[in-house]
C-alpha cells in the first residue's frame, strides 16, 4: 500500500516497452494479470518502509513466472527497479530475466518451472502461522499451471493446516502453452475444485479492479479458517485486440508495426 497509482495502462505500456526493447515473448500472460497485480500492490500488499525485503512484509509469490514483466512494471512504479533496466531488458549481462528470479528484491521465488511457487508460498504462510505474525501470502498461479501435481499437494496441506493467511489467485485466462486449457487438460470448475480441497473460494472478473479488491477484502475478512482461493476470469493478451484470446502472443515478438499498434491501443497514443 504505497500510495502509487498502478494505472493499468501505464503498467501495460511498461510491459510493451520492455518486451519491444528486449524482443521478448510472454506478453499475453503478462497482460492477463495487470489488474490483479495493480490491486494487490495498490490496496493489499504491505511492505514496511516500502522495502521489498522488509521483515514482516506480505509475500507475493509469482508462481506463474512467465508473467514476470507485469510484476517488473509494478516494481518500477514502486521505484524498486530503475528505468534503465527496462531499456536494457534481455541485453547481455542484464539482471532481469524472462522468468521470475528470486535474486531480484521484490520477487520472492524463482519460477517458470511451474507448480513451484505455490508450495513455497504455503511454506511462507506456514512460517507466518508458526510465528503468529499477521503476514499474508499470495500465490499467483496460472490456470495451465494447475495441471501440476504439487499445486494439489500444497492445497491439501494448506487446508489441513488451516492456513487462512494464504491466498491462491488463479489467473484463469483459458490458455496454456499449446492451446486452450479445456482442450489440453480439462479443468472443469476451478472454484469447485479448490472448495472441495477445503479452500474458501470466490470467482471474479480479473480485469475489474473494484471487483478484485472487493473479493480479496471479503476473503480476508471472512471468519472461515480455510485458506483462500480467488479465481480471476481473465483474457490472455488483455488490452490489445490482436493479442486477446490469441495464444500466439505467448510466443510472438513485437515488430515496429505491432508495437506501434499495441502502444496506441493501450495508451491512446503512439508515444
Amino acid at each position: 500500500m504505497s500510495g502509487k497509482a498502478f494505472e493499468a495502462k501505464t503498467l501495460r505500456k511498461t510491459v510493451l516497452d520492455m518486451a519491444y526493447a528486449g524482443s521478448t515473448v510472454h506478453i499475453g500472460c503478462a497482460f492477463s494479470i495487470i489488474e490483479l497485480l495493480a490491486v494487490l500492490y495498490r490496496n493489499h500488499l504491505r511492505y514496511p518502509d516500502d522495502n521489498p525485503l522488509a521483515v514482516g512484509r506480505d509475500y507475493l509469490v509469482l508462481s506463474k513466472g512467465h508473467g514476470v514483466m507485469a510484476q517488473y512494471a509494478c516494481m518500477r512504479e514502486l521505484g524498486w527497479l530503475e528505468d534503465a533496466v527496462f531499456a536494457r531488458y534481455f541485453s547481455d549481462g542484464s539482471d532481469l530475466k524472462g522468468l521470475s528470479d528470486s535474486r531480484i528484491p521484490g520477487l520472492e521465488v524463482t519460477s517458470g518451472s511451474l507448480g513451484h511457487g505455490f508450495s513455497v508460498g504455503v511454506g511462507l504462510a506456514m512460517g507466518a502461522k508458526l510465528r503468529h505474525t499477521d503476514q499474508r501470502t499470495y500465490a499467483l498461479v496460472g490456470d495451465g499451471e494447475i495441471n501440476e501435481g504439487p499445486i494439489w499437494e500444497g492445497a491439501l496441506f494448506a487446508a489441513h493446516h488451516q492456513l487462512r493467511n494464504f491466498m491462491v489467485i488463479i489467473d484463469q485466462n483459458g490458455f496454456q502453452a499449446m492451446g486452450r486449457t479445456e482442450e489440453v487438460l480439462r479443468l472443469g470448475s476451478v472454484q469447485s475444485k479448490f472448495e472441495s480441497f477445503g479452500f474458501e473460494a470466490l470467482t471474479v472478473d480479473g480485469h475489474d479492479e473494484a471487483a478484485i479488491d472487493c473479493a480479496i477484502t471479503q476473503l480476508w475478512e471472512s471468519d472461515c479458517r480455510a485458506p483462500k482461493a480467488l479465481i480471476a476470469k481473465t483474457v490472455k493478451g488483455k488490452g490489445v485486440h490482436f493479442m486477446e484470446h490469441n495464444n500466439t502472443w505467448h510466443y510472438t515478438r513485437l515488430d515496429p508495426t505491432t508495437y506501434a499498434q499495441a502502444l496506441f491501443e493501450v495508451t491512446g497514443s503512439t508515444q
Partner: protein, 305 residues
C-alpha cells in the same frame, strides 16, 4: 546410526526452536523421541514430497531451519528440481536427509533402491553432499550440515554394519578420515558409507600396508588431500554403494586426472538396476559388492597392470 540420528534431531531441535523436522510420511518410529521432545517442530507433510520441499524453502525464507526427511529414492531424487530451484538456487539452509540409500530396501525393488542420488545431487550448485559411514560420522555430518547455513544432502545408507571409528573423529568439512593407516606407494582405499567397513576388511585381509580412508563428505571434498593421497599411491580403489557413474569414484577420478594421475579402480553399481530381490547381503552379491567379489575384482585389476 539411526539411534544417533534420532539423538541428533532431538539435540538440534532443543538447541534451536527454529529447527523444524519435515517428513513425507516416512520414519514411523524413528521420530518418536523428537515428537515427544519437540512436538511443535514436527510436520508430517503427507505423501507429497514435492510440496514438502517447496514448503521447506518457504519456511527457510521465513527464518526456520528445516530438516527434510525422506527415503533417498524420493529425497533427493524425486524432488531434485524442487531442491535445485526452490532451495539451492538461493542457498537456503535446508538439510535433506535421504534414508535407506543404496540397497537397504533390498526386498522392495527398484522404486525404493537408490544408487543414483549422489550423482544427481552433487552437480547442483550450492548443495553439499555428505555420506556418513557410522554413528560417529553421522553426528559429525549433522553438526556440520547445521552449522553450514546452506543446503546439504545427507545420505544415510545401511546403518547397522557397526562402527568404523572408536570415537567421534576430529573431522573438518571436506576432509577424509584415515580409518586404517598404511604406507605410501601401494594400494590405497577410499570408501564412503556402507562400504567403508568392507574396505577395511579387504585391506586387513590382503593389503596390510594399504591405507583406508573414509569420505563422509562427497562435496565439498578437500582436493589437496585427495591429490596428496593419489600422489602417494600406485593404485586407488574407490568403493561405494552407488553407481560408478557420478559418485565418489567419479569425484576422486576427476580430481586425480587433473592434479595427480593415478590408476583408479571404481567399485560400485555398474550402471544397472537390481534384477532380483532378497536380503541386503544377497543384493550386494548380485551387484558384485560383497567382500569376496570386490577382493577378486581388485586382484584381477592389479594383475592386469
Amino acid at each position: 546410526m539411526r539411534a544417533a540420528f534420532s539423538r541428533e534431531l532431538v539435540r538440534l531441535g532443543q538447541t534451536d526452536t527454529n529447527m523444524l523436522l519435515l517428513t513425507g510420511d516416512h520414519g514411523y518410529a524413528l521420530f518418536d523421541d523428537f515428537r515427544k521432545e519437540c512436538p511443535a517442530q514436527y510436520i508430517n507433510a503427507g505423501i507429497a514430497e514435492q510440496n514438502m520441499v517447496g514448503m521447506a524453502a518457504g519456511l527457510a525464507r521465513a527464518g526456520f531451519r528445516p530438516v527434510v526427511y525422506g527415503l533417498s529414492a524420493f529425497v533427493p531424487v524425486r524432488v531434485l528440481e524442487q531442491i535445485k530451484l526452490d532451495v539451492a538456487h538461493d542457498n537456503l539452509p535446508v538439510i535433506f536427509v535421504g534414508d535407506g540409500a543404496g540397497f537397504v530396501y533390498s526386498h522392495l525393488g527398484t522404486s525404493h533402491q537408490s544408487t543414483e542420488d549422489i550423482a544427481c545431487s552433487r552437480s547442483i550448485p550450492n548443495l553439499s553432499v555428505y555420506s556418513p559411514a557410522d554413528r560417529f560420522e553421522l553426528a559429525v555430518c549433522m553438526e556440520a550440515a547445521y552449522r553450514s547455513q546452506s543446503a546439504v544432502y545427507l545420505r544415510m545408507g545401511k546403518c547397522d554394519l557397526g562402527d568404523v571409528h572408536v570415537a567421534a573423529p576430529p573431522a573438518s568439512v571436506g576432509g577424509m578420515l584415515e580409518v586404517k593407516c598404511g604406507t605410501a606407494g601401494d594400494v590405497t582405499f577410499i570408501a564412503t558409507g556402507s562400504l567403508v567397513s568392507t574396505a577395511i576388511a579387504i585391506a586387513d585381509d590382503g593389503y596390510s600396508n594399504a591405507s583406508v580412508w573414509s569420505a563422509p563428505f562427497i562435496k565439498p571434498i578437500d582436493e589437496k588431500q585427495v591429490t596428496s593421497i593419489c600422489e602417494r599411491s600406485q593404485v586407488v580403489v574407490v568403493l561405494e554403494e552407488h553407481s560408478v557413474l557420478g559418485g565418489l569414484g567419479s569425484v576422486i577420478a576427476e580430481i586425480a586426472s587433473e592434479f595427480a594421475p593415478v590408476r583408479i579402480l571404481r567399485i560400485g553399481v555398474r550402471d544397472r538396476f537390481s534384477h532380483h530381490c532378497g536380503s541386503y547381503e544377497y543384493l550386494r552379491k548380485e551387484h558384485g559388492l560383497d567382500r569376496l567379489a570386490i577382493a577378486e575384482r581388485i586382484r584381477y585389476f592389479l594383475a592386469g597392470l
